[in-house]
Symmetry: C2
Subunit: 464 residues, 2 copies
């Protein structure tokens, strides 16, 4: 079997299109019903997807007057999904700026235990300026400082996850030794931002550590991803842009001495499907027509620092305003590039970003969507995709029912899971505890506590 | 129906007896298997208990060489339990010293959403000195400061949970209004410890706020409980001690202008059951004989600050050592009182605390256990109990199968749930948002978003 696509279901409450909740196809009444999300994850698992993914941020950000932009708390939600599924990965976002490492380490270790090794961590430094005021800060730390802190954070949680070696739990009722404390290590981390004594207060989890995911596209973000990430989520509107990112980030990983194959590049795609291209485009148009300009203008105001009140929506983007636009990050740059390159009206810009906030929106037949995915996958632009359904649940069902089988028939996507953990789905190595290095040779009996292929096996082998 | 007992299942990994994991009755191999805990909660629900409860602390505390004293992370675990149950309450411990209020508010709101209104918060200031070093502090903040901080913490999370009024979500597809932002309030909290702008980033949860539980028995702890708590967990070895605590805490609540009936007193009890009293006592003895003195001595050393190495286990507690014992909190005092009052050998002291760390251990027939519960309940000592099974799962099964039916037949305990939320089980009022006061009169349509008696009803009423 050749190289295989990785596909995640990226879940936003109400779907990714900002006005999806107004469309009769949406189940807006179920947006806080966990069973709705369990069913979505079960459908994604039936389609053999790699993972479901929740974005997150510790602030109420967008204007919820017009959109379903409240937040689903990822740890609780993914824990509830974990027990309704068996194979699919569970990727949650957690901020290195607004969480304590010890708490984050516990939450992910527990999610990995609950799910028998399916946890993934989308490492973010939090873009939302407003978060700072929810945590007693006068202002959001600057970009570079946030990444410095993220680096320290990743190092300390890595130590915590490694602090119990895989075979630390002995559970020998006869001798009365529950844990071999010579295999449980204080971490004594003294970093620039964090001082943590450790050890963690829970045994090492099935994957050792959750899969490290990252989504920054800034210089700092790319440097961080190249060093630490095992998967990168990224937004591109064209094959060329994605190819450039792909080869850049893989080269950066290699420069850190890493195997570039252990860093997956996963752009987002928000697909509208129809039996003809025209039908798919008409469907997209239906959603775009439900948008409320006031909402999109608010997002642009925040992203670019420009006020478009009173500017005619169906006229061009005023160049003099554009000249004053600021850049709050890589997403602002992406928006400015598109406005400048394509000479869009204000309304066209609003529609362009209404679908998936700058991610690639594609309307076509199932064959066309599959072709586009294959083109990026084989064209050095992607190792797979985050699927971003415009609305829920139908926007995902259409993809699962109509596009996935085409990808499977082409031999590009699995028809059955071959492993149990997210690391196995993604083809990533299981990290050995840094504290056991030199003690065990890899593969030596006892070096890992459980077979990765036997989720039913008790985690604690009671030697009674 | 007369006054009804409240009964919680207090879950410790491996059971409350420190050596339970060594006993063949225990399922030590399932201690990290979420299905094991889901099954326990389902059994507790079948017995119509009020809640399951997890203690917690952000440090590895006791010596895991000899006991199963790792920690279950409560939010993830309770979320996974919530979706395997329908009625039973879910009480998790969270520290006001080592969590950020915004993060804690999100986690509990989400658990309350997931469970349709069954979340409870055991508010702790964290007793574990070692926790400080996991959070960059040189030392654990002093007792009084921790309680000051807890007071500020409770005030700010209360504001966050109230920040979305119950009817803030409109979801009117026709007008395009998803939320009435005049009913979503910044909290602008400026306390002594916390500055939080708010609002929370999620709609108000079914119970409004989780049930507030507290377990401190110090002066600061009792003052805090009297002002804020809706249930108090407490440890007493005798009816007299419990009666004294009961009347004191109820009087303190009244002094705050509160209805003492809205503050439940729930002592712990760890029952050993047998068909005769002798059989029950022999069962307890079996567990006590599995204890390892080194473990218990370590606990005493930490609790009392005295080193008993080399002291004969079957001799008396050396008075000169006792004279130097320090008091690290209300639990130390309880231990010292018992040692002094009962003139125990060192081994007897170790056995006394091996069962439930100072909570009441009672061995007897099901009838005797029911009698004892009734005696405390009707004797002004308890509104109910935390049931602390010595081992799992059988230590709880015995109570559920043999004691609960007796309490039910005496009309002291429900035979069916009458409500759906933990507040309903406990007979506690649902707090109105502090931001809606004066706007709605209680009971006015629209003042609450969902009927508390209709968990199947969509939380977001889509007016499409």
């Amino acid at each position: 079997m050749g190289r295989q696509l990785k596909l995640n279901l990226f879940i936003y409450p109400g779907g990714h299109h900002e006005a999806a909740w107004r469309h009769p196809k949406s189940h807006t009444d179920r947006l806080l019903d966990i069973r709705f999300y369990q069913e979505l994850a079960q459908r994604a698992e039936a389609a053999k997807l790699d993972a479901v993914f929740y974005a997150d941020g510790p602030a109420l950000e967008s204007n919820v007057q017009f959109a379903t932009r409240f937040r689903i708390e990822p740890f609780t939600w993914l824990s509830a999904i974990s027990v309704a599924t068996e194979r699919i990965g569970l990727i949650g976002t957690a901020s290195t700026t607004y969480l304590e490492p010890y708490n984050a380490a516990r939450l992910f270790a527990s999610l990995d235990h609950l799910s028998n090794g399916r946890a993934g961590w989308n490492i973010v430094t939090t873009g939302a300026e407003r978060a700072a005021q929810n945590f007693g800060l006068d202002q959001h730390p600057p970009h570079a400082e946030r990444y410095d802190r993220a680096d320290d954070f990743v190092r300390v949680v890595g130590k915590l996850w490694d602090s119990w070696e895989d075979d630390a739990v002995v559970a020998d009722a006869g001798t009365g030794v529950f844990a071999d404390t010579s295999r449980i290590h204080p971490v004594e981390h003294e970093g620039r931002y964090f001082r943590v004594a450790g050890p963690l207060n829970t045994p090492r989890s099935p994957q050792g550590r959750p899969v490290y995911v990252q989504a920054g596209s800034s210089e700092d973000g790319k440097a961080f991803a190249a060093e630490h990430a095992e998967a990168v989520f990224t937004a591109h509107q064209s094959l060329g842009s994605a190819q450039e990112f792909y080869s850049d980030i893989k080269a950066r990983a290699a420069a850190f001495g890493r195997d570039p194959g252990q860093l997956l590049v996963l752009p987002g795609i928000s697909p509208y499907l129809g039996s003809t291209e025209a039908e798919a485009k008409a469907l997209k148009q239906e959603f775009d027509e439900l948008t409320q300009p006031e909402y999109g203008l608010g997002i642009l105001r925040k992203l670019l620092g420009i006020d478009l009140d009173g500017v005619p929506l169906d006229g061009p983007f005023p160049p003099e305003l554009l000249a004053t636009a600021g850049q709050a990050g890589s997403r602002s740059q992406l928006v400015l590039d598109i406005i400048r390159r394509e000479n869009l009206t204000v309304r066209q810009v609003l529609h362009r970003f209404a679908g998936a906030r700058g991610h690639y929106v594609f309307a076509g037949t199932p064959m066309q969507v599959a072709d586009e995915i294959q083109r990026w996958f084989e064209g050095g632009a992607a190792d797979g995709f985050n699927i971003m359904p415009p609305w829920l649940p139908g926007g995902f069902d259409a993809f699962a029912d109509e596009v996935v089988p085409i990808l499977q028939s082409r031999g590009l996507f699995r028809t059955e899971y071959s492993g149990w953990t997210l690391r196995e789905h993604f083809g990533l190595a299981r990290p050995e505890s840094q504290y056991s290095r030199g003690r065990h040779t890899p593969g030596q009996p006892g070096a890992v506590q459980r077979s990765q292929h036997s989720p039913g096996e008790p985690l604690l082998a009671a030697n009674t």
